[in-house]
Symmetry: C2
């Protein structure tokens, strides 16, 4: 029998409790539920033996074998996880920001104490991508991970595309339906996806990078007109998280380069990434030997996230049966490296302008672009727009993003622009 204590009884926590109670044969027993103001949380469907508490010391001094942290937030979660590991308990957490920031330290601490820390629910909810990369594809040498890791952004972009509504309306509707938070910054600006990408880069590419070192761009400037232009190019727009490790860029002075970014991007309609609808998640892992492998499903929600949590609990329970695992350096695990991180991908580029129309605009733009050494691929205009708010599109031939940024610094000060140019890579 394996005793489980639950820290947090919100959407995910109560789903975890539900699965543990409804599934027989699991050899797992829920012993504690901790929450602030725990009285208002009490439910009648949990066994009477469960202890409801607000005090972490009740959990730490108990006979719980596994502590499940599903409170979210950096503190007190981090502190309590450390104390749980130090008390000789294993930990399961769904806390992506915490694992993105302190994952390696917490894993090392767990290993010192002959315990485990599992975090399968921290990325892509119910989609078993962490165990898929770590175990299922352990035999491959992965070098690229692309994904749609934030259901909120994907829902909003799908709604703009399907219903032709502006960003602000789509966001409000997502908030009304519970697909977006009251303060949506973490999701919209890519900070949530960036934490998840950091974890995937660590687990799949064995690259230790700080979340802050990965570029994140907001999806808020995306408008209906961008889907019309994208469609003309045979593409749609999605928030794409991309991490690609280039070994060939390894020199004596550095351990290779990780190309990493989270941003709205154009993706070809034929790509599996283009077909992800609503709040679904998808991860495509590419390896030297096995090529592309795809993992997809529900990236959020109480029940799917709880499935990942319970799977992690079961994994720890299994390995408790067969003695402690050494978590830091299991046989065959490649050594982790710390590469340089850059967002300077070479790609085709999408530049969408909104201008007060007048003669000479294309000439001014073309002059600046050519001075920066980038070539125009096409110029497109949407018919029937007003002269005072004219959207038009310039696509660029493949070039480094840094050259485009250079050109945009000059372009964004031109007086005929109604708003700064929207710039996305075409993947």
């Amino acid at each position: 029998m394996c005793n489980v204590a639950l820290l947090g009884f919100g959407t995910v926590g109560s789903s975890v409790a539900k699965i543990l109670c409804e599934r027989a044969n699991t050899h797992l027993r829920l012993t504690h539920v901790l929450n602030r103001n725990v009285e208002r949380k009490k439910v009648d469907w949990l066994p009477s033996g469960v202890q409801w508490t607000e005090n972490i010391d009740d959990v730490l001094s108990s006979d719980a074998h596994i502590v499940v942290e599903v409170m979210g937030g950096l503190q007190p979660a981090e502190d309590w996880i450390r104390r749980a590991l130090q008390s000789g308990k294993s930990v399961v957490t769904a806390n992506k920001q915490l694992i993105a920031r302190c994952g390696p330290e917490l894993i090392a601490l767990a290993s010192q104490r002959n315990q485990q820390i599992q975090f399968g629910a921290s990325v892509a909810g119910g989609v078993p991508v962490i165990s898929g990369l770590q175990e299922g594809l352990a035999g491959d040498e992965l070098f690229k991970i692309r994904g749609i890791l934030n259901g909120t952004c994907n829902y909003i972009l799908s709604q703009i595309e399907a219903n032709g509504i502006p960003f602000a309306t789509a966001l409000r509707e997502a908030q009304k339906l519970g697909f977006a938070e009251a303060d949506p910054t973490e999701d919209i600006d890519g900070l949530d996806a960036r934490a998840k990408l950091t974890i995937l880069a660590r687990v799949g590419l064995h690259c230790n990078v700080a979340p802050e070192s990965v570029m994140a761009r907001s999806i808020s400037p995306i408008d209906v007109v961008d889907f019309a232009f994208a469609s003309q190019l045979g593409c749609t727009i999605r928030q794409i998280s991309w991490a690609e490790f280039r070994k060939d860029s390894k020199t004596e002075s550095q351990e290779g380069v990780l190309f990493a970014a989270v941003r709205p991007s154009l993706v070809e309609l034929s790509s599996p990434l283009a077909r992800v609808e609503g709040s679904q998640n998808l991860v495509v892992a590419t390896g030297t030997y096995g090529g592309e492998t795809v993992f997809g499903g529900h990236g959020a929600g109480g029940h799917p996230t709880a499935v990942a949590v319970v799977s992690d609990i079961l994994a720890i329970a299994r390995s408790r049966q067969s003695g402690p695992q050494s978590a830091t350096s299991p046989a065959g695990q490649p050594v982790e490296i710390t590469p340089t991180v850059t967002a300077d991908f070479t790609a085709k580029h999408y530049l969408r302008f909104l201008v007060k129309d007048r003669p000479g605009i294309i000439a001014s733009l073309a002059t600046i672009l050519s001075r920066c050494g980038v070539n125009i691929d096409s110029v497109q205009q949407k018919p029937g727009s007003t002269k005072s708010h004219l959207p038009f599109l310039i696509t660029l031939e493949g070039c480094k993003a840094s050259l485009v940024e250079q050109a945009l610094q000059q372009i964004n000060s031109l007086d005929f622009l109604v708003q700064p140019c929207l710039h996305m890579p075409i993947l």
Copy 2:
């Protein structure tokens, strides 16, 4: 250090050897390569310490910890795997027919000897679906698994669809390109996919079923005209493997019912199953809590299959570090049940006829169908066909497959039929 012996040095075996040699840090050492006529197999890129042999006793008496069986075929593979387990060695195999037939016995034998047997490569090659169901989704209660499990069939069907060529031509081309065997029966008739479905039902649904109890239908009657009709219905045609466990059908006399079949089926174009191209594989697992989770990638080929084999080797090496695992009943593993197996799904149905045209055909067919209690949904005809070989389509409203089969027994003896009616479910 963990010593690995390889039985079989064909496409998969040599890919496994390549990955073991190319990847440093793996703590794995290849010690033996066994093959018939081993002299002609010798390569210069393996370390000189590797022992090449034709004699299984060399392997069994050696210090190899893990024996990897990638020879295929039932014998001597089964015999050698048993002897390896009995000699205290763990086993990794890619042999789907063997695992479909004797998986539970071999797992029990391994467990008796405190060893493990892993078979991640037996289904969907490099796609980590076995570990995904067994571990990543262990926290869910799966009840349905659908998949495209045979790359050869999917390649042939994709080619008929894309190029409008007859089945026989598509098969010949697949054989020329190495996507189909000289004797393609196992693939075309669904026996290969059926073995894989049996394994997935065991691992994911905890249903122990014999492969022979699962209905398998050939894709050979599918013709260009069927893709035209399917397209009119907003569908395409794929070989779909389907296993669905109905708990509510559990009675005192039986342990529930497993609906299972492998057959060409119409799938809506919006389904992820419809978008699987070429020799790719895809598995969709559905659970009570997590909803649908998708696993996709390269289902065959030396390198992708070798990735699955090496991942299994690494999993065993990891658990060797932490002591032996009890393989039969790990904590939280639901008890396996033995359900009744049926292919009698309720679905809409596609009946495609090829007839010598004359008045009264629809009337005869409609009479028989109505006597059997099934309702016609639509009748469609392709314009511009010859009267002596006129293809036309009847779709039926949702009904049990057994009622349709009953009607077809009478229909197939009608003298205006040029060939037996082609019958597929519309999923």
